[in-house]
Subunit: 204 residues, 3 copies
């Protein structure tokens, strides 16, 4: 899809932030410099690769435009260079991560609908796009994926993907529906962190 | 492929049962409600997604027909609602799981042969279809995949997939060969549970 | 791509050696015989499957030619039969593993360039081809992937894939560029093992 310049910029911002988060996870596990870059790239580009492979949009977009690989590496490099400062940036990182989640989710949903996928399938693919990179990061660094555990994370993606898809189905323009969807994901995620919202545990 | 109504029903039954098993695994790991649904969907649809992606049948079937997503979610929901009763259902769950393994394996083998894959490749893809969802479930919930460990599980799939493929190659009709294959997988699995059959450990 | 007979032979040698390494990992985790074969096949063929799926070269090559599946199984079988002798073969195994890494990486890079992927993307895909099977092996056997941790492994692949791609871009013939790339990967890996070279840890 031809992305609106604003969304194109936000897409790259999401790649950058997820790249940082991958490198931070690598550092916590005492991996070497290469491991940091690998996890940065996998986290930043993994969700989009899963989306493209499941849709049959190959070669996956991450390999078509070297810019994505470069921005993901830049995120990893930033985490290595500024690792001392990153603890102080913790709060703004959460903001940017929530932004990335919102952008990747609505991009995934929109691209899937554009390829003729049904609405429920497109919502699922949107969530996979938004959360897939983080899941790969957690599996490779031997953690139970965060999104499966306790925080309001993927649920925010579910709500936003549904809004985005529903508005598109009602004939709202893609920029508005995607903006609303990504904004709601961002807000839900930030509010849940601030007010410590949780989903009930299964089986309680 | 146009599925015979009986196989189509059994396919959905397999999706349902594997959905339940994913939600049970999530509950054991104290995941939240979203984690339960995610694991339910991944377990129920993961094997088919792996199959479709490796064959190039994209978009993956699970995204083409919302019914699959609905049935997988229904399985996850059932596990959440009836979690108290499920321990008592343990035995019949094993039966249905064995049935699902049989159905998914022969479906995978048959679809692969239909796409011109060689017999050994089709058997491998059948096993991946039958066991892939459970492998993803175990990796995401931080367990060594059960099928790699000790039970007669994937070996049953191997025998049934080989039978199914061999009978098809001999000109037997697909309904008969798939029925025989799925039935043998079901029986081998159930008998191995009842009589505690195991494969020898490697290196003994 | 039509492989030069020499590379075709080396490709199969790589499959064989990675098959052995998968079965050894299974034995260390006390998996059963089936688990050994599964890990052997996943390790030997996984990197190529990831490459083909991301490139859209489906059905994945491993399913097109039964020879690959046979050679991977033969590797697993060898590890089971000669498990007593393998500790003594430890040193030559490392040599062969380094050779496999070199071959798979340059094959992945060359095939990707041949499909019109940009140089950075082709290098990334080459590294994924060379190290992907081992990563799947480690994730399935519940280890933090070795390549993410401490050894000069994927960095060797990065250097060799870059050399291979760079020489191709300069008009050097594919046999020479691939030979140089694979040779450099092999040498870097062997030298790093002999002289205990490591990358710095992140955040130090």
């Amino acid at each position: 899809v031809g992305l609106d310049p604003f969304f194109w910029f936000m897409d790259l911002a999401g790649v950058f932030v997820f790249g940082i988060s991958g490198a931070i996870a690598a550092e916590r596990k005492a991996m070497d410099v290469y491991g940091s870059f690998t996890l940065a790239i996998v986290t930043a580009l993994g969700g989009g690769m899963i989306r493209d492979v499941l849709l049959g949009r190959t070669p996956a977009a991450a390999f078509g435009d070297p810019l994505y690989l470069g921005i993901a590496s830049l995120g990893g490099l930033s985490a290595l260079v500024f690792s001392g400062q990153l603890s102080r940036l913790h709060f703004s990182l959460r903001y940017m991560d929530a932004l990335g989640l919102g952008i990747f989710t609505v991009l995934g949903t929109t691209i899937s609908l554009d390829q003729g996928i049904s609405l429920p399938g497109a919502i699922l693919l949107g969530i996979l796009s938004g959360t897939g990179g983080g899941m790969l990061r957690d599996v490779l660094s031997q953690e139970v994926p965060l999104v499966l555990q306790k925080e309001i994370y993927a649920v925010a993606a579910l709500v936003g993907a549904g809004l985005n898809g529903g508005l598109l189905a009602l004939g709202v323009s893609v920029n508005v529906s995607a903006g609303v969807g990504a904004g709601v994901i961002f807000l839900l995620r930030i509010l849940s962190l601030r007010f410590d919202w949780h989903l009930p545990r299964a089986g309680k």
